[in-house]
Symmetry: C2
Subunit: 200 residues, 2 copies
C-alpha cells in the first residue's frame, strides 16, 4: 500500500511533498492506533486524530478520504501483520509450535483483532460477499491445515467453518456486549471446541 | 396468529366477511406454498399467488401488506411446525429417538427449512438483533441439550453456536450457490461435525 490517493495526486508532486505526505500518513496512523488503544474505537474522532498527530483536519481527509477510510487502512495493516505472524512469526502463533498450540493461539489472537476492529468488521458483515473475503479464505485454509495436522478427521472444511463462526465480529460483539463474556472466556470457549474436534 | 391486520380492520367487519377473509388467507398461503415448492421463492410474484388462489391482487395486499409480509407468515408457520415436530413429533426429530439421531435429523431438517426461506432469513441477518431472535434461542437450547444427552463434554454453548453457524442462512446460501454444495452434502458436513463433538 502506498500513500498515492484515488486521483494519483502524488505522481505530480515534487519529492519534498511526497516525503511530507508519507510522514503525515504514518504520524496519523500512529496517533489513531494510540488513541484507539486508550479509549476504544467508538470514542475516537477525526478531530482527535488530527490533533494528536499535530496536523490539520484537512490533511486527515486528504490522506484517508473519511473516518471509515482511515479505519480500513488500520484494519488492512493489522490483517497483514497477523498473517505475517501466523506464517512466519515466533511460537505459539508461528510454524515452530505444535499444530494444536498454534490453533489455540490463533483463536485467542483473532479474538483480540476482532475486538479492536469490530466496528468495521461488523459493517462489512452487512454485505455477505465482504463477510467471506480474501482474509477469510486465508484463515479458513490456516485453520483447516492445523486441524488436519493436529489429528482431526472428517469434514475439516465444515469444522473450520464452525470454528471460525466463533470468531465472527457480530458473534463476538454480541457475546461481549450482551452475553457478559470477556475475550478470555471466549478464548477458552474456542479452545474447548478446537480441542474437542481434535480429540485432545 | 389471526387474520386481523395492522389497523384492526376485521374487528368491524360482519361475520360473513370475516369468514371470507379467513378462507382467502388460507387459500393464498396454500397457493404460495405450492408455487414456491414448484419454482423456488425467487420465481414467485404476488400476481402469481393471487392468480393461483383465484383472488384479486388487492386481496393479497390487504391480507399480508406486502410480498415480505406474506413470506414472513409462511416463515412463522413453518418455524412453529418445526418446533412442534422437534418437541412432540415422531422420530428421528422427536423425543423418542436417541439424542445423537435427533441431533443429526435436526441439522438436515433445518437445512431444508433454511433453503425454503433463505431469502427472508438472509434479509433478517442484515440486522444482528434479528439474527439471534427467539427461534434462534430455542434452537440453541435444543442443540445444547442434545449434545449433552449424546455424551459431549466441554463448553456445550460454544459447541451449539459453532454447529448452528453451519445452518445460518447466508452460510447455507453461499455453500449452495457459490460452493457447489447440495442440501445432502451440507447435511453430511453437519453430521460429521456433530459426531466429532459427541465423540461418535
Amino acid at each position: 500500500m502506498t500513500a498515492v490517493n484515488g486521483v494519483g495526486e502524488l505522481t505530480v508532486e515534487p519529492p519534498q511533498e511526497r516525503g511530507d505526505a508519507a510522514r503525515n500518513r504514518l504520524r496519523l496512523l500512529d496517533a489513531a492506533r494510540t488513541l484507539i488503544a486508550e479509549r476504544g474505537t467508538d470514542a475516537v474522532s477525526m478531530d482527535d486524530i488530527a490533533a494528536a498527530a499535530g496536523v490539520g483536519k484537512g490533511t486527515v481527509f486528504r490522506r484517508f478520504g473519511s473516518r471509515a477510510g482511515l479505519m480500513m487502512v488500520l484494519l488492512d495493516e493489522d490483517e497483514r501483520a497477523m498473517q505475517q505472524a501466523v506464517l512466519f512469526g515466533p511460537p505459539p502463533l508461528g510454524p515452530e509450535a505444535p499444530p494444536l498450540q498454534r490453533l489455540l493461539a490463533f483463536g485467542r489472537e483473532r479474538l483480540r483483532f476482532v475486538d479492536t476492529h469490530r466496528e468495521l468488521l461488523s459493517e462489512a458483515n452487512r454485505d455477505p460477499d465482504a463477510r467471506y473475503n480474501a482474509p477469510f479464505a486465508v484463515m479458513h485454509t490456516h485453520v483447516r491445515v492445523l486441524l488436519d495436522a493436529a489429528g482431526s478427521t472428517g469434514d475439516l472444511a465444515a469444522q473450520a467453518d464452525a470454528l471460525l463462526a466463533l470468531l465472527d465480529a457480530d458473534y463476538v460483539t454480541r457475546q461481549l456486549v450482551d452475553g457478559g463474556r470477556t475475550l478470555d472466556t471466549l478464548g477458552a470457549a474456542w479452545e474447548s471446541v478446537a480441542r474437542k474436534l481434535c480429540g485432545k
